[in-house]
Amino acid sequence: MTGQDAPARRIAWGHLALVTALAAGVLAYLIEARAVSLSPHNLLLLQPTAILVLALWAVIAWGCVRRTAGASQDGPEGTWPERLKVGAMVGAFALYIAGLETIGYDVAAWAFVLAGLAIGGERRPLMLVLFPPAFAAGVILAFKAMIPYPLTTAIL
């Protein structure tokens, strides 16, 4: 490859942020574990693995900084509306989990299925009105019958 057509370098910020955040978590875990005890009984597997992960972070981060534009596997694909749709689904799922114990598993399931259908592009009114409560009721009642633990519900 000649110097003229060498591809431009572009830092993969998203990838770098993810791998750095994970490595920071690993470092914090290692520090916390070492604070608990320096005994081999505590660090036998944990410490060497954490050091290996941190060393790999350096390799990957260097790759992110030195990345050439157009390199494969270097980031999310899709148009902005598509990415927004995925983000909305992840957000709705997070809200669903957060709401399970407060609004009840039944109402949360109904609301999440409704939101999920809407995000996915479902526009038929009957489907939006009838399917979410029917599905939520079916699942909640089935699990209620199966599991021995109490389940927080608002209606069922």
Binding site: V26, S37, P40, N42, L52
Partner: protein, 503 residues
Amino acid sequence: MIDLPAAGSALSLLSSSLDAWIWVVPGLLIGLVFGAIPGVSVSMAMALVLPATLYMDFLPAIIFLTSVYTGAGFGGSVPAVLMGIPGTSSAVATTFDGYPMARQGRHNEALGAALFASCIGVLLSYMVLFVLVQPLAEMVLKMGPFEMVAVGIWGMVLLGSLGGTSVSRGLFAAGLGVLFGTVGMNTAGYMRGTLGIPWLLDGIPTIPAMVGLLAASQLFALVNTRFLVEAEEDRRISLARILDGGRLVLRHPGTMLRGALIGALIGATPGVGSSISNLLSYAETKRTAPDGHTFGQGNPKGVIASESANSSSEGGAMATMLALGIPGGGATAILLAAFAMHNVVGGPRFIDQNRDIVYAIILSNFAQALLLTVIGTGFVFVASAIVRVQLRILIPCVLVVATMGAFAIEGSSAGPITLLAFAVLGWQLSRYGYPVAAVVVGLLLGRLIETELLRAYQIAGGNALEILNHPVALTIFALMLASLAVSVWNERRGRRAADAITE
């Protein structure tokens, strides 16, 4: 090895008792349905039907429970193939190639291969049990911490092969998984990484984390897709193609046999069982296959390797339970509970005094495996209809069922919270090309290796040379190194051949 008079009386026991047979089909169906629900484990399905066995005679009760066991063992592979959700840890490796096959429109073949591999796996493992129940159980007693570390490290070698194109990303993901596996209180009593959350003392809930990593993260990535199988003509559900999948199993007898052997041996080891055997079998098959580079992209041999191993673990686990009275996992613990409900104590004395009943249980399982091929085919036919459902409906529904399954396993919101955390992590990791499966394998093996490594360290008093006194562990290491050497040699030979062709 086979006590022929006892086998004869087992046959007459089975042929004269209608009760022993009428519960087989309902048991298989219950197992299939419950096993296919993400989050409902084999042991949970068996626990649910356990009270019903109280009023049955001993033999029908055990046959009913083992039917549920056999059915659920395969049932778990249905969501693994169709949605990439390993309902139980024993179906993790099934997702590696089963789900890509489903996405390519080969869901019929994948499910057919999984079904037939499961049925043959059960058959083979019970054959081993029929012949070798006593020696197998005695061998299990020789599996100490050194041997378990060897098994765990053998599994970890798989992590290298899950790395895909980037070794550093594969190892990074695997390292993360191992570290997740060490969170909580270890066997030496040290608490790490709990963040003050009480339920993390027992470690990260494995199954919700696995479902989050492998399935929920994939579902997020499918939000902009219309159907699981894009091409309309591939969405057809075809009995002929399901049977074609079955024929694929017969075309790869080596993969099948290796999986069944690994499954029976590892399954017999208490506390390990099918969750490790499917990974080991997959790893070994991938390493020795000439088309190993296509694993993870929809190679049916991956499905066969995983399913033959996880289903044959049943026979192995039964050997330990019947011969030693030790439950290898939740399912055999429930069987022992059923023994106790009928005032029967499992163990060496039970085998000696009731060999005819032991043989009757084994023979009934042969019949169960054969019946499963028929009932399972019908079940697969119905379950495959999921590929015709639009993803905008399927995604929220599957996420709700997975959440409820996560709750059902943990009995608290710990399950759903773990599911969410790992779904987001898995989604982010797969966006940047990290092999999420490596995190799962690390998570599964991390805790096992740490626990056994600690025990070995304590026994050896820190002296690494103590391993020389453990021939079984040395044999496992030697086998692992030999298998690695063979695969490296094969790879080199393949590369030379490819170079020769290009020249």
